[in-house]
Each structure stands twice: as structure tokens, then as C-alpha cells.
């Protein structure tokens, strides 16, 4: 057997961290399977919950925003399709972000009893949201069939926006996961962020309605587009619904830049703090 040597010292970042992370990919898989497996244990409806929730949310949004508030969809696109596409990627982001933020505190029993690269926990927390994402995408397909809507070549971009949504969830989630270890206030803050996010992102409406709006001479779209999720949701919708959907390439570039910078800072922060989790948790 080849010699395996470890040096344990204060404040010494693990030299082989990323290699260790890769070696622990099976653990990542098993923790993901654990989360998926326990999700609907002892529920009567089981996995159908993953379908019931997005379906109900969509129906309510159609009722409230389309029928009552009469928000227009992008020209040539059925409102329910627009809502489901936006909702799919938003829900994925929101769930993944929430799960990642609580991933360390939810696994206290592991943190205090066994060592492995701590990044495994936030990474495995994404699995459940990803399954939900796939189911929600299935819902989109069903509704698309109903409206006899066929996506075009734009759909090739879908994985890219999906990835961007995942990176965004990690970028913000990792930061909150670390802070959550010391300050459980985060658990209170996150549902609030999600709730606000739902309205300041183009989910129930199209960003087209924001473009060109001014308030006291301020171009609202400029502020609106600072939200990195706007570009991601627009892009995701555009790749599903094609050219008729409102799409502003600039906001996607801005989103990608913000997400990448935040991600790098978050990972750095996480790595710096992960050895103290056990003392603070």
C-alpha cells in the first residue's frame, strides 16, 4: 500500500483538498441518495408531491396574475408556459439555495464526528432540488404538448443556464451556510429572501414590462438587471420558449460575471472557515 501521510496543524489549508474532494465523490453520491431517499418517507402521496406543488403554484399564478391582474405574456407565448418555465428555474435556484444554506447545520452529527471535505455537504444538498427540477421540467413538457408548442434550437442553451442557476445557488448558498453555523438568524432570513426574490425576478411577468419604465427619471431596468437571477431566468426561458421570449444578452453577461466572482469569494470564505465549523456549530 502506498504511503499516505498527513500533517495536522493550525490554520494550514489541506494541500490535497481538491484531490480529497474528488476521492470522496462516492460519499457525495451516497449523501445525495440519502436526501432523496428520506424525502418522502412516511408520506401518503410520496413523490407525487414533487408534481403537486409546481402544478398548484402554476395554476394559482395563472389565476392571480393572468386572469385577475391581466399581466400580458410575451407576444405569441401562452402565459402558463411562460410561468412554468420561469418557475422551474426559480424553484430550482430557491430550493438549492435554501438547502445549501442549511447543509452544514443540518449535518451537525457528521461535522462533529467524522472528517471529510466539508464542501461535500453543500454539494450533496443540491440533489433533491435537481430531482424536483427534472419533474418540473416534465410538467413544462406536458403543458407544451397541450399548447402544441415545439421548442427550437435555442433549447441547446438550456444546460448552460441550468448550470448558471446551480452556480448561483452555490455562490450565495455557501456564504450563508458558513454564516449559519454561527448565527442561526440565517434560517430566518432565507425564506424572506426567497419571498422577496419571487417578486423581483421575472417569474410571474416578463422583463419586457420593466424595460423602458422610468421612475423619477431613473431607468428602472438598470437597477432591475443588477439582480443576477434576472439574466438567468430570462435566459432559461429564452432557451425553452425561443426567440419570441424577451431576452437581454447584457443581463446574462452581467449575471454570469456576478455569479462567478461571488462563487470564487464564497468558496474561499468556506475553505477558510470550514475547519472551525465544529467549534462553532
Amino acid at each position: 500500500m502506498k504511503q499516505h501521510e498527513v500533517l495536522i496543524q493550525a490554520n494550514r489549508p489541506e494541500r490535497h483538498y481538491w484531490r480529497d474532494l474528488w476521492r470522496n465523490r462516492e460519499l457525495l453520491y451516497i449523501l445525495s441518495m440519502r436526501d432523496i431517499s428520506i424525502r418522502y418517507k412516511q408520506t401518503a402521496l410520496g413523490a407525487s408531491w414533487s408534481l403537486i406543488r409546481p402544478l398548484t403554484t402554476m395554476l394559482i399564478m395563472v389565476f392571480v396574475f393572468s386572469i385577475i391582474a391581466k399581466l400580458p405574456a410575451d407576444p405569441g407565448i401562452p402565459y402558463p408556459l411562460m410561468v412554468v418555465s420561469g418557475l422551474t428555474v426559480w424553484t430550482f435556484f430557491a430550493n438549492a439555495f435554501t438547502q445549501i444554506s442549511s447543509s452544514i447545520t443540518a449535518n451537525t452529527n457528521l461535522v462533529t464526528k467524522v472528517y471529510f471535505p466539508r464542501l461535500i455537504m453543500p454539494l450533496s444538498a443540491v440533489a433533491v432540488s435537481f430531482i424536483d427540477f427534472l419533474i418540473s421540467l416534465g410538467l413544462f413538457v406536458i403543458i407544451a404538448v397541450w399548447y402544441q408548442f415545439v421548442p427550437d434550437w435555442h433549447i441547446l442553451w438550456l444546460p448552460a443556464f441550468m448550470l448558471l442557476a446551480l452556480l448561483a445557488a452555490l455562490a450565495f448558498g455557501l456564504f450563508f451556510a458558513v454564516v449559519n453555523v454561527r448565527f442561526r438568524d440565517i434560517a430566518q432570513l432565507i425564506p424572506f429572501i426567497i419571498q422577496v426574490g419571487f417578486y423581483i425576478c421575472p417569474i410571474a411577468y416578463s422583463s419586457r414590462l420593466v424595460a423602458g419604465q422610468t421612475w423619477h427619471g431613473i431607468e428602472l431596468a438598470t437597477i432591475y438587471n443588477m439582480n443576477p437571477l434576472v439574466g438567468i431566468i430570462e435566459g432559461f426561458r429564452w432557451s425553452l420558449l425561443g426567440g419570441k421570449s424577451f431576452f437581454n444578452p447584457n443581463s446574462v453577461v452581467l449575471s454570469a460575471a456576478v455569479v462567478l466572482v461571488t462563487l470564487i469569494l464564497s468558496v474561499y470564505f468556506f475553505r477558510k472557515r470550514e475547519n472551525t465549523f465544529v467549534d462553532d456549530i
Binding site: 500533517l7 462516492e26 451516497i30 440519502r34 428520506i38 464526528k113 472528517y115 472551525t276 467549534d279 462553532d280
Partner: protein, 424 residues
Amino acid sequence: MSVITAENISKQYVIDHQKGKGGTTLRDMLAENARMLFGGKKNTPSNGLSREEFWALRDVNFSIEQGDRVGIVGHNGAGKSTLLKILSKIIEPTTGSVRIKGRVASLLEVGTGFHPELTGRENIFLNGSLLGMSRVEIKRQFDEIVAFAGVEKFLDTPVKRYSSGMYVRLGFAISAHLDPEIMIVDEVLAVGDAEFQKKSLGKMRDNSASGRTIIFVSHNLTAVQSLCNRALYFERGQLIEQGETNQVIQSYLSKVSKTRLLREWTDPKTAPGNDLVRVKRIELVPEYPDGTTHIDVRTPMTVRFEFWNQMERANLNLSMHLNSLTGECIFNVGTSSQLCSEGVFSGECVIPGYFLNDGSYTISMMIVKDTATPLFQLEEALTFEVEDHRDGVAWYGKWPGYVRPQFPFTLSSVGSEQWQEASS
């Protein structure tokens, strides 16, 4: 070849005390909730918190050779768990370094990461991979693990429906099939039934026969003695002694510092008590059998108590409570009542050997008037510890019960006819 070299390792915790919540000791806080431990951030005393620095480990140096089975002994709060956590990479030392050669598996609890909703099968994979086994390894040893734990019938039952015995057996079975070069084990023998403990200890011995290094923490000195060839003795975060197991355990037992066997007051004006009675002296005198220097389950003891009576005439009797360290009363005995005039009185109570189980005990003494009115009680006057001792018993688990009497209990043959009839 030394596989573990620890140089000057220390671990400091900074603890924020909440003011006005007096009475909580440092150890209580540590034991009560790790969340009370704050690291890094500074709090100004003005926000109602006072800060206290606490060294869980201080300048510890040792090295462990390949194939050594090292027992770590010491009281609660001596730093044993902190050391294990540093060696397991779970916590960072504040200063110093540890160099480890070889693959380490840490077993700090039985069934780490077990999820109650998951089945036995799923938990084997979860726990196994948390302990560093690959899925291929787990699959290869799966049947053996299941057979070792004896849970074949319940493999697809959620572990929340397991009995606690099954749960523990499954947890230990998985870790017993790990194949690391260095194994770190914390108190796992304290659980499980007798037969299983024997099997586990046997399994651990086999492991070390194949050149594996084992680090083992236990309160159970008998188990340490039987398993380990070397021992480290910790006291308040410091490594007091290391060396051959029996020698280290002897000095550990002789330095048991919690013990307080004598208290005495010379001035009747300030001694504990009141205007009616005051305590003069209380003492516990063990009668050590030949060759022993500490109290164990065999040792008979005498409690002597003296007090000043300042009343002219009173009907007095003594009442003694013997409590476990956790505060449960093991027994209460009293003297008969006696008419006492002013002066010094003494009482004596004999606790026979082979009566108390191993553990820590406190003694409280009460002076009672007219067999009804307590005049004064001296709480937790004495503290002592009864060590374990076993002859001809191959089982190392905690002996159950508050007392360990040796009542006449015999096993004898009543003839062999019946068995032969039944089997023929």
C-alpha cells in the same frame, strides 16, 4: 517506525459566560452543549458576557509506533476526546502539529450518520462511506457485516424500528470491517450486550495482530488493560504519563484527585453547622485488602463522623445518605436515637466490601433531633470513587446496577439422566 508523531499540540477554547447565570461550571458547560463554545469572535464584556480562556489540551507530545495498541485514560474533561478529534482531523489544534503516516479510520460513535428513516441496507452504505470505505469494499464485505451484526431479517427495515441493541451491533459491525492502518476508537465497548462485546473486542485484537495501530479511549480500565500494550494518561489537558499499560493505570488510579476522604474543623465557632450542632470531622477509612492501594468493589470502608452538640439535653441520631455522583440516593442508614448532653459525639458506619458497584459516590451526613427534625445536613461531605475489579470474568462492559453484592448463588449438577432420556 512511528506512525503518529504529535508535537506540542494544544487546543484552546474561548468560552463566553453569561453573567448572572452563576453556578455553571466550565465542565458542565462543556458537557452540556458544545454550542456554548465560541471560537474567534471577540465579545466585549459590556454585552453581559464574560470571557474565559480554556485549554482543553496543553503542550502534548507523544509518538506512537506501528502496531501499538494505545489506551488513553483520564477523567471526563481531561482532553481525551479533544485529542481524538484532532487526530481524526475533525478539529484543528490551536498550536503544534501531528504527523500521521497511514490511512486513519475514526470511530467516535457507533453508527455515525445513521439516518433513522433509512433501512439497514442503506445505512450500511452511508456509514461505510462516511468512515472511508469505497462502495466496492462495502459490497464485498456486505454479507459479512450483516452476519456479524446478526440483522439479516431486518435489512430492509428502517433503523428507527431497530432495538437499540441491533442498532449498535450494526454500527459496530460496519466499523469492525474497516481496513485502515490506524484505527481510532472512542468508548465503543460501553455499548452492546455481553456476547457482542466479547466478539467486538476479539475483532479488534485480530486487527492489531495484523500490524494495525489502534488508539483506544475508554473509561473502562479493564478493557484498556486487556486490549492495549501502551497507555497515555491525561489530566486537565496535559499528558501526565505514558508507557506500559499496567504501570500507567496504576499511577492513574493513585492520582484520582476527585477523592476527598477526610474533612476536619478545629474551631467550633466556624465549623459548618448552627447554634445547636456543628460538624467536627468526617472521614472515610478504606481497609485495603493485601496488594491494593485504591478503593475497588472489594474494599470495605468505614465512615467516621464527629460533631459538637451545644444543646444541654436532646434526643439525637445520625442519618447518612450515600449518593451516586449523578445525585441518586443509593441508600440511607441511620443510627438509633440517643439522649445527648453538651459535648462531642461520634458515629461510625461500616460499608462492607462487595457491596457498591464501581462508580463515584458522595456521602452526606445529617444530624436529626427526636427522630423527626433535621438539625443540620452536611451535603456531599465526602467524595470517593470505587474502581472496577473482576476475577475470572471475560466480559468488559459496564457492570449494571447500583450495587454489586455477592449473594450466595451457586450452580451445581443435579444429575444427567434427564438429558440422556430426552436425547436418546
